[in-house]
Amino acid sequence: MKKFSFLFASLFLLAACGPAAGGGASGGGNKVEGDTIKIGMNMELSGDVSAYGNAEKEGITLAVEEINEAGGVLGKKLELIEKDNKSENGEATSVAANLTAKDKVVAVVGPATSGATKATIPNMTKAAVPVITPSGTDDSITVVNDKVQEYIFRACFQDTFQGVILANFAQDNLKAKNVVIIGDNSSDYAIGLTKSFKDTFKGKIAKEETFTAGDKDFQAILTKIKDLDYDAIYIPGYYAEAGLIIKQAREMGIDKPILGADGFGDEKLVEIAGAKNVSEVYYTGHFSEKAPATDKVTPFVEAFKKKYDKQPSAFNALGYDSVYMLKQAMEDKDSADSKDITAGLASLKDFVGVTGKMTMDKDHNPEKSAVVLGLTEGKETSADAVNP
């Protein structure tokens, strides 16, 4: 009996691998069949981070509708095949396999988060179908061990890139010469941000202090830096600790500008710090209506409001851009086969999206401007587009 079940299992496995492997053998990737171009969507529509997935789905759906209304791509309509990965890495992997092998999509958008995106890499690479993650910012998604992942692209900037943007912002917009860094020492995200900031910033790092996620008391660190000579504080970390640092710093009378990355981008930051303490606080965001990165923003915002009756968020905008990036790649190569889309994405140049004008670099990360949002008393009061 045991032998039989083993036999069945291996047969089943073979059957599951079959189509994908076959696709790989016949020159790689899926080709357009029929009169539509099939695009897959692998999104977190339920589960822990479904807020991101559903927001991106809205942007993606809007983009597909717009493109189809305008006549499609290369004379064919886009057909979106939506699948829910339930915010689980394992589920994302099987969704990727399903989309490429069963539905024969030529490209996939999503997942939204870094972990789930990384989990789909083996399947996507095996099937030779390109994937764009709208919002996976982890550096190691597109480059693993110095090797670029051939079929993996993203529409957002990567973590270390934010450090570069913030260093430039500190120098050019805040005119900072000396900066204090208070960094989270327990996450790859924050360590990457710290490193890229230090590599780019031309001024002096007056002091570098570290904390670990979950810390609550920053009085000792802040007492140390209080009387130093510096122009801004850079806090690579998430909103939970950053909120506490902002609160304790402002209450201690430290009124220097505070800089952070997209980990600040949650309303909890203001709640924890207390609205009156959140002034002169700046962080990088992917999209803002206040600082339209390109002239596509206004029509996008209008179309979005008309369809969903609300203001678009950064995740809406990133989902929307991902689809248009695919369109551009297909048009550039005059083909909608997976292989050509992959080549088109890799050589994407001066693509004008709503989150910025992008050119794909050799590591499959878009080079684009970022928006630095400024908060005064907890409210967004400024937005500057900063170029790398």
Binding site: D217, A220, I221, K224, D227, E251, G253, E271, I272
Partner: protein
């Protein structure tokens, strides 16, 4: 020099919170030789009760403080009754494991009920900063210190001057003999849990007010550290727990001030190991020879 003194002041405030928590550990251990690992979770529950009393019932800080201390006292007694009393005659390890179980139950129950994310504690007291010479102190820090010291003195008075306190001391020396002398041992133990839990809830609310953020896992690290504080001062000795709390707070602050913030937890546990090696009974503990 000024920075050094400011850092010592910072350490003092941090220490007073650990001290409040350590008192609960030390009393429970002193009376039934149980390390109540669910104590950090009572502290967390105290923070959440304060959050609801202030937000939902729109009470002021002090009425909310008294209510949540009372609420935590009841919870402490219930936990003792349901989880520890049935095991009182079993091995000590069984009770310890139950305590760990209760602690996980409370954490995960709160996560299930309210979600894991941080909540911002209502700022019931307007923040003010005072400048005393070169030292900067906020009204909330002063409040923490005063409430801690008042509660510690009150506790000392209860233990030393009241009939219940006398009963507690008697039970801690010999529960069976105390029973023979007409002391209701169960009631005394319940009372001890109520006292310790009320202090933990006060600490939880003060921390909520101070940091403006509470979450279901907030009790884990302070719980462990105040346990270390209790052992450091001499577990079972009330002034020892207070002293241990202040020592740990100062030690942590000094470690960060010297630039070793990544090692601050390690330093605390290293100190525990050293104390256990050179003075196993703790700073204020006496080595009592057990009669065989």
């Amino acid at each position: 020099m000024e920075v050094v003194i400011q850092q010592l002041v910072n350490g003092l405030f941090l220490g007073s919170i650990y001290a409040l928590l350590a008192l609960g550990y030390t009393m429970v251990y002193g009376i039934i030789k149980l390390i109540n690992f669910a104590h950090g979770e009572i502290y967390m529950l105290g923070g959440f009760m304060g959050y609801f009393f202030i937000n939902k019932l729109s009470l002021g800080f002090f009425p909310a403080l008294i209510l949540s201390m009372a609420g935590a006292a009841v919870i402490g007694v219930v936990i003792e009754f349901l989880a520890y009393r049935p095991l009182r005659k079993s091995t000590r390890i069984a009770a310890l494991i139950t305590a760990i179980g209760v602690s996980f139950l409370l954490q995960n129950g709160m996560i299930y009920w309210l979600g894991p994310e941080k909540k911002s504690f209502p700022q019931a007291i307007e923040f003010k900063n005072y400048q005393l010479g070169f030292i900067q102190i906020s009204n909330i820090q002063v409040l923490i210190l005063i409430i801690s010291i008042v509660l510690m003195i009150a506790l000392q008075l209860i233990v030393k001057k009241t009939k219940m306190g006398k009963a507690m001391r008697a039970v801690s020396v010999d529960a069976d003999a105390a029973q023979l002398m007409g002391i209701n041992v169960n009631r005394t133990i319940s009372f001890t849990f109520a006292l310790g839990s009320a202090l933990a809830a006060a600490a939880g609310m003060l921390i909520g007010l101070y940091y403006n953020s509470i979450d279901p896992m907030m009790g884990v690290v302070p719980g462990l550290k105040s346990f270390v504080a209790a052992v450091l001062g001499g577990i079972g000795i009330i002034p020892g727990a207070a002293l241990g709390g202040f020592v740990i707070g100062l030690l942590e602050t000094i470690t960060i001030a010297l630039g070793f913030s990544d090692y601050k937890d390690a330093v605390v546990y290293a100190l525990l190991i050293i104390i256990l090696l050179i003075r196993p009974a703790g700073i204020l503990g006496k080595n009592i020879k057990e009669k065989v």
